[in-house]
Subunit: 236 residues, 2 copies
């Protein structure tokens, strides 16, 4: 026992080190469909393949300058990849992936994060970008991705599916005010199944009753008739 | 937009890289108290301080040999630090901590994991070790730890508190068969609050009714009278 701790070996500085990256699974709900942002790789390996956006953590020289935190790296990449200002999207660490051969060139450990972008902000993301290089991709049409990125995406989907029933994940994927139908469509998009409207309406009423959501001023014009709008109560 | 992805910069191999470690928050419940395994550091920095067990991920030379996965590193360290055979404890990735100055010597990114050790196995862990170097420490008596390890411990406690009500975390912290009181004590230890016995008994009955737990053969001799024993139904 007690053979090792993080700093036991003073010769550690001579040991080989991995490169460390952050990769982002950026979700939105568009056209009642759960989508993620993909970029097309411009060079080898996997040149021309679709991949998750991401980049290396800035480490610094380790003496004068130690670089950025992993949270800072994730926020910076999210800003760079989406053009959205900091705080506009929800961002949370997902899992750190570190299979030895996940990158054919060298050892790269990837700290994966997932982000949730509201549908009213999603169109801004691709507006300024080359359509061939970045795209919102429906999860039902996901192509084979570079590296282990399909596995990372799968892990992210399982995470948000697991969280939607007890954490306010859904409210990060609707506009600031939303109708019952709009919130239901987010649940449907995440679970990729249709919900019974009556059951969802009862569930919605429970969220209203316990103060998780509240009615907002105004009404939304829908195909049939003006619908009441609600908002998430962040003080809850 | 689209300025970076994980592999854009072919000069990345010349960039400084961080050391990457795994650190373990190893929980057990002993004497109705939630405890974690601490080791006492034998050298600078923080010499003599208590710290989480852990060690560096084996990276290999990156050419012929790429080293071990981060999961393998966590399992290996857990085996080395506890002496328990692989699979004896529950192990799950917690969060990756990477503040630039968390280690005063160099840039170290720590992939933290938490492990749950059943109380019947916990005494085996310290049996073979130097008592001054490794110890189960009650969370209510946690000393200031080396590096950011107090912060890591706090994150782990919040994770298991958040999970205990919807994931079978508690069953990893009782013996294979347990009484109602033993399971209640695990909930009490994790939440650091006393539970109403009647309420917990009703909750226990719901777990029985929905098949999450089932009665096991035999009875346990307790201070008052023989008590029924139960087991977790893993097929649930």
């Amino acid at each position: 026992m007690m053979k090792t701790d993080s700093t036991k070996d003073t010769s550690i500085e001579r040991f080989p080190r991995p490169a460390v990256a952050v990769d982002l699974v950026i979700f939105t709900v568009l056209d009642t469909d759960l989508k993620i942002l993909l970029i097309q790789r411009g060079q080898a390996p996997h040149e021309g393949d679709w991949a998750l956006p991401g980049g290396f953590v800035r480490v610094g020289d380790g003496v004068i300058e130690q670089g950025e935190s992993v949270e800072e790296a994730a926020h910076r990449e999210l800003e760079e990849e989406t053009g959205l200002p900091r705080g506009a999207a929800y961002l949370e660490q997902l899992y750190t992936f570190g299979d030895p051969y996940r990158d054919p060139r060298m050892r790269v450990i990837s700290i994966a994060w997932y982000a949730l972008v509201r549908p009213d902000l999603a169109p801004l993301v691709t507006a300024g970008s080359d359509a061939a290089a970045a795209s919102w991709c429906s999860l039902s049409e996901l192509p084979p991705l570079a590296f282990d990125h399909n596995h990372i995406v799968q892990t992210a989907i399982e995470r948000i599916r697991g969280k939607i029933d007890y954490a306010p994940v859904a409210f990060e994927l609707v506009p600031p005010t939303f109708t019952v139908a709009e919130l239901r469509q987010v649940f449907e998009a995440i679970h990729a199944t249709a919900y019974d409207r009556g059951n969802f309406r009862r569930r919605f009423k429970r969220m209203l009753d316990n103060g998780l959501i509240e009615q907002a001023p105004g009404k939304r014009q829908t195909a049939s008739k003006p619908a009441r709008v609600y908002r998430f109560n962040r003080r809850h």
